[in-house]
């Protein structure tokens, strides 16, 4: 069956092949492997970019295919990062505390160790008690379960509330944005138990792996990110290829019609919303150990909108489009804002890309929406000369599940 699935979706094979080649090239050229053409920090950037591509795939599933413009998926991404970050920080602090307590004349008791770790971690927010949410922080396995469970359950509860009351279209977008803002504001508080605006830091160090240099660690994470992306891509492609994908696109284009066919639209939406939230959580759990630090600013609503921007620029409704968009925009952005791009001297004014990149990005985004709704992925259509159907009636776009459309079509 999987054989026929790949045959029917040649783009998946092409994508996997390109990804494999890319991983091979980076591995051979990386500092960790000895070649040293690619610096460790750039390997990390590439690894992070793969994670962003994974969350973009999730976003494409939920927006490009199902038509739910969620402005909350970066919140799930951040939550995944927080969950793994808790273990990383706890375990590493524990190792440090243990080694310093080992020098004392009397061996330390359990509670003394816990207190010392608490002091180390929460001293910065003026506390030393472990909040309840850290109860599983000493266990990698449980914390990995939480990477999946916390975004999943939040998405399940929120989605259930939102879809049940038939909030659709822009209303849903605004509501998800509110959820993201609420979460970010909550995490900003010192008594949220996650160190307020300090966030979690030192995540680049794997506990018990102090002897492994960062150059090697970065390659490991790069591989893990590539594997996660490959699996996530395969899963997404599999999901959208069959009848399930048909139903999803049906919901996007005409929600009411799908309902009258007997499909429980709310159930499907909830399913896809939750599954993509979990994928986003996993992507975040791989991203933040490479970034080294996570704080509530990462979760701000604007990050989720950027996610939508990537998918739109790449071309929504096609999975490789999402990947292309995320990789292209995030790499180009970091090139321009990182100060590497040369300034443009206009004679009367020197254009600094650090200052002007966002303006270019914003305007190019407007242009893409207006003139190239299919994004960069649309180029593939030109190349393969695959003609899109000449649709009759108003092109309502992927947002057709929205209330506004229905009013519009009356």
């Amino acid at each position: 069956m999987s054989d026929s699935f790949l045959k029917r979706n040649p783009s998946v094979l092409i994508f996997l092949a390109v990804l494999a080649l890319f991983v091979l090239a980076v591995t051979l050229l990386a500092e960790g492997a000895g070649a040293g053409v690619i610096s460790t920090s750039f390997v990390k950037t590439l690894g992070k970019t793969l994670c962003l591509a994974l969350v973009a795939v999730a976003m494409d599933l939920v927006w490009g295919y199902t038509g739910i413009l969620s402005l909350g998926h970066f919140a799930f991404f951040g939550l995944g990062g927080y969950m793994i970050g808790m273990w990383l920080m706890y375990a590493r602090t524990q190792a440090i505390v243990m080694s310093s307590l080992a020098e004392a004349s009397i061996p330390a008791t359990e509670s003394e160790i816990t207190d010392a770790i608490g002091n180390q971690i929460f001293g910065v927010v003026g506390s030393s008690e472990f909040p309840l949410i850290w109860i599983f922080a000493d266990s990698l396995v449980l914390q990995l379960v939480l990477v999946v469970a916390v975004p999943g359950i939040l998405a399940l509860v929120f989605g259930w509330l939102a879809f049940r009351s038939r909030v659709t279209g822009v209303y849903l977008s605004i509501l998800t944005q509110a959820m993201t803002l609420g979460l970010a504001l909550y995490l900003f508080q010192n008594d949220s138990g996650l160190r307020g605006n300090n966030g979690l830091s030192g995540l680049q160090n794997l506990p018990g792996m102090d002897h492994v240099p960062q150059a090697t660690l970065s390659i490991w994470f790069f591989w893990a990110s590539a594997a996660a992306l490959a699996l996530g891509y395969l899963f997404a492609a599999w999901i959208v290829s069959g009848k399930f994908g048909s139903v999803l696109r049906g919901i996007r284009d005409n929600e009411a019609r799908v309902r009258f066919l007997g499909y429980s639209v709310e159930g499907y939406k909830l399913f896809i919303f939750t599954v993509t939230a979990i994928i986003a959580g996993i992507a975040g759990a791989l991203y933040y150990p490479q970034a080294g630090i996570i704080n509530p600013a990462e979760i701000a609503p604007v990050a989720s909108i950027y996610l939508a921007v990537w998918v739109a620029i790449g071309g929504r409704g096609r999975l490789y489009g999402a990947v292309i968009g995320a990789v292209f925009v995030s790499l180009v952005s970091s090139w321009f804002t990182g100060g590497q791009a040369p300034d443009v001297n206009l004679g009367f004014y020197t254009l600094k890309w650090v200052d002007w990149w966002l303006i270019v990005l914003g305007l190019s985004f407007v242009l893409v929406t207006l003139f190239a709704p299919r994004g960069i992925g649309g180029l593939v259509d030109l190349w393969s000369e695959r003609r899109r159907p000449d649709r009759h009636g108003a092109d309502l776009g992927p947002g057709a599940g929205a209330l506004r459309e229905k009013e519009a079509s009356k």
Partner: protein, 661 residues
């Protein structure tokens, strides 16, 4: 010979002069010079100039009832009191040039002469002494002919109320010509009576008289009277103590640990041996890899440590641990009570009653204040959201750059203020200008972007978001990242203070008025003008409106411009109390959307209701948890998500088929 004669004459003259000086000094002592003699009596203390010992000297001068006393104290306070080294007399000194001073006698006020600094000693009171002098001076200033001085004196009393000031203050009330100052004097005298009067009945009477007063000063005076201290007594409570209430250890007010700590602090019980002390003691008694017979490696549990420590105690190498039973015993053996600092029970009872009655009124006042606060927050949300209610609610266009229009309005106000320094004029000019700028921006955006995306709301959302980030960055490039001030004109400064609890700043009142005006303008435009009629027609049925000769393109353009222009004016208003930064708009955008969605799309009253609800809810949560405004916003968003469950179409929903699905 002539020279020697001259010299002899000189000597004679000099000695004569010296003689004369001596004589005049002698004369000063002989004649009635009461202040000088008083100063001489206190000379030693004055010269010592120590805060601890100076009080009698100040009291003697202030209490001398001499008219000169005020002058002496004032001179002393400003370091103009000098002593002549030759005879130890005190004078007021006035600096002439460097190293030379002219001295004045206090009693006669006459000039004594000019002396070099080396002959004199300056009395330099330190700040503590100066404060005491100031207090002593107050009684003189209370009757000073200059009302400003009298006000200063009252301020000094308020800062440092003292029993000694009560009598002069009361005495000065009768003769006070200024009604305002008289009222203030009366009030301060009452407060002083409560705090310091020796007559207990009079204190109680005054407390009762002021029990309905909301002033902070009344509460500040009453609170020390009911201050208590937790004390532990072995056996019975000694007589004569003014007990507020008895406390049992384990109550909410007093945990067992705290109670025992109190006993330890009062040396009524031996201290507990803490875990840290046990560890230190154990570490000090390591003996061949073991402590008290327990191997060190096993000492990583509290239980093993207790065993090892018990062994040390048995060997009399460590103080015994206090057992739980002993703690209980000690606690049972003692009585705990909160004791008033104020010994008189009549006073504490009256003060408690007065505070209770004040508290009730304060709660009422706070409720009113909170309501005003919430109203003002609601009007801010309303201002921020009303433009959105037009573009999103009426036209169905979601404009993520709405916040940036607010920001543009605020920056317009800032720029106008740079050009026109008069704040009132610039504000009056900034409002129409901000409208014009954002109206133009809105029309441009509608023409260039939005009209191509009608009926594609999600794409509109993303395209306008692109514009939003571009505009934000543009503002950063032009104005920098630091906040720019948009200063309110002077007549908007300050606050309308009803009493110490209820007050509202004029800016907030102005914003409230502005919100009302906007509401009126909006209703007028929508119901009474051609544009409003056309807008409603286009909203309801675009094709039909088009066939009736209405140009939907033009209507959409104008409506969008109107919504954007109102956002610009809102920006000026918001800029007056918030710092103008490029992120000003994004701080309000989510709340604005919430306001529109919660209120019900397509209905201005809904927006009003939404803003009111969100404003009141947020203030309410802030009141419950005042330290944390972030939490208030989190709860507000949670509340909105739940609210949408019950009223998915908002507070005021369009009903029936008109609402679409």
């Amino acid at each position: 010979m002539r020279i020697s004669l001259l010299a002899g004459l000189m000597v004679l003259l000099t000695s004569l002069a010296a003689l004369a000086q001596q004589a005049s000094a002698q004369m000063a002592l002989d004649e009635p010079a009461p202040m000088q003699s008083l100063l001489q009596e206190q000379s030693a203390v004055i010269l010592k100039s120590s805060r601890k010992t100076i009080a009698p000297a100040i009291a003697a001068i202030a209490g001398s009832e001499l008219p000169q006393a005020q002058a002496v104290l004032q001179a002393w306070q400003v370091k103009a009191l000098w002593m002549r080294k030759s005879d130890g007399l005190f004078f007021r000194g006035e600096k002439l040039e460097s190293k030379s001073y002219r001295l004045f006698d206090f009693d006669s006020g006459e000039v004594i002469g000019e002396f070099p600094k080396s002959d004199l000693k300056q009395i330099k009171p330190n700040s503590g002494i100066r404060a005491m002098i100031a207090t002593a001076l107050v009684q003189f200033q209370l009757s000073d002919p200059d009302p400003v001085r009298r006000q200063e004196a009252l301020l000094a009393i308020e800062r440092a109320p003292a029993a000694a000031l009560l009598a002069p203050l009361r005495a000065s009330i009768e003769t006070e010509p200024d009604a305002g100052i008289k009222a203030r004097k009366t009030r301060i005298a009452q407060l002083l009576t409560i705090a310091h009067d020796a007559d207990e009945a009079r204190r109680v009477e005054t407390i009762n008289a002021m029990s309905g007063d909301l002033g902070l000063d009344v509460r500040a005076t009453l609170n020390p009277l009911v201050a208590t201290q937790l004390q532990a007594f072995g056996g019975a409570v000694p007589e004569g103590l003014n007990i507020a209430r008895a406390v049992m250890p384990g109550d909410d007010a007093l945990s067992r640990d705290a109670a025992y700590g109190l006993l330890v602090g009062a040396k009524l019980a031996p201290p507990l041996v803490s875990k840290d002390e046990i560890r230190t003691t154990l570490a000090a008694h390591i003996d061949g890899g073991k402590v008290g017979g327990v191997p060190i490696a096993q000492l990583n549990t509290d239980e093993a440590r207790a065993r090892a420590y018990a062994a040390l105690v048995a060997a009399e190498m460590a103080p015994a641990q206090i057992t739980e039973a002993e703690v209980t015993q000690s606690l049972n053996d003692h009585i705990f009570a909160e004791v008033y600092h104020e010994p008189s029970q009549a006073i504490t009872t009256a003060a408690e009653a007065a505070l209770t009655s004040i508290d009730t009124q304060v709660v009422i006042g706070q409720t009113v204040d909170l309501t005003l606060d919430a109203l003002s927050l609601a009007s801010i949300y309303f201002l921020a959201a009303i433009g959105l209610a037009i573009t999103f609610g009426v036209m169905g266009v979601i404009n993520m750059a709405h916040g940036e229009f607010i920001m543009m309005g605020a920056y317009t106000g800032y720029v106008v203020q740079q050009v026109i320094p008069n704040h009132t004029v610039s504000l009056l000019l900034a409002v129409p200008l901000a409208f014009a700028v954002t109206f133009a921006a809105g029309v441009a955006m509608e023409r260039l972007v939005i009209r191509w995306l009608y009926n594609r709301p999600l794409e509109t959302l993303l395209a306008t978001f692109g514009i939003s980030i571009a505009l934000q960055q543009l503002a950063k490039n032009i104005f920098g990242t630091q906040a720019r001030p948009l200063t309110a004109p002077g007549w908007l400064d300050g606050a309308w203070i009803i009493n110490d609890v209820v007050s509202i700043s004029y800016i907030r009142i102005a914003i409230f008025m502005l919100a009302l005006i906007f509401l009126g303008v909006f209703l007028f435009i929508m119901r009474r003008t051609r544009l409003g009629l056309e807008t409603r027609a286009v909203t309801q049925n675009r094709a039909m409106a088009g066939s009736m000769g209405i140009n939907p393109e033009r209507v959409n353009m104008l409506t969008f411009g109107l919504g954007s222009g109102i956002a610009g004016i809102a920006g000026v208003a918001i800029g007056l109390f918030a710092k103008v930064t490029s992120e000003l708009g994004s701080d309000y955008i989510v709340q604005s959307f919430m306001t529109v969605v919660v209120g019900g799309v397509g209905n201005i009253w809904g927006t009003l209701a939404g803003a009111t609800m969100i404003g009141f809810f947020q203030k309410g949560v802030e009141w419950l948890n005042p330290s944390n405004t972030l939490a208030a916003q989190t709860y507000m968003i949670l509340f909105i998500i739940v609210f949408i469950q019950f009223r998915p179409r908002g507070i005021i929903a369009l009903k029936g088929r008109a609402a679409g699905d």
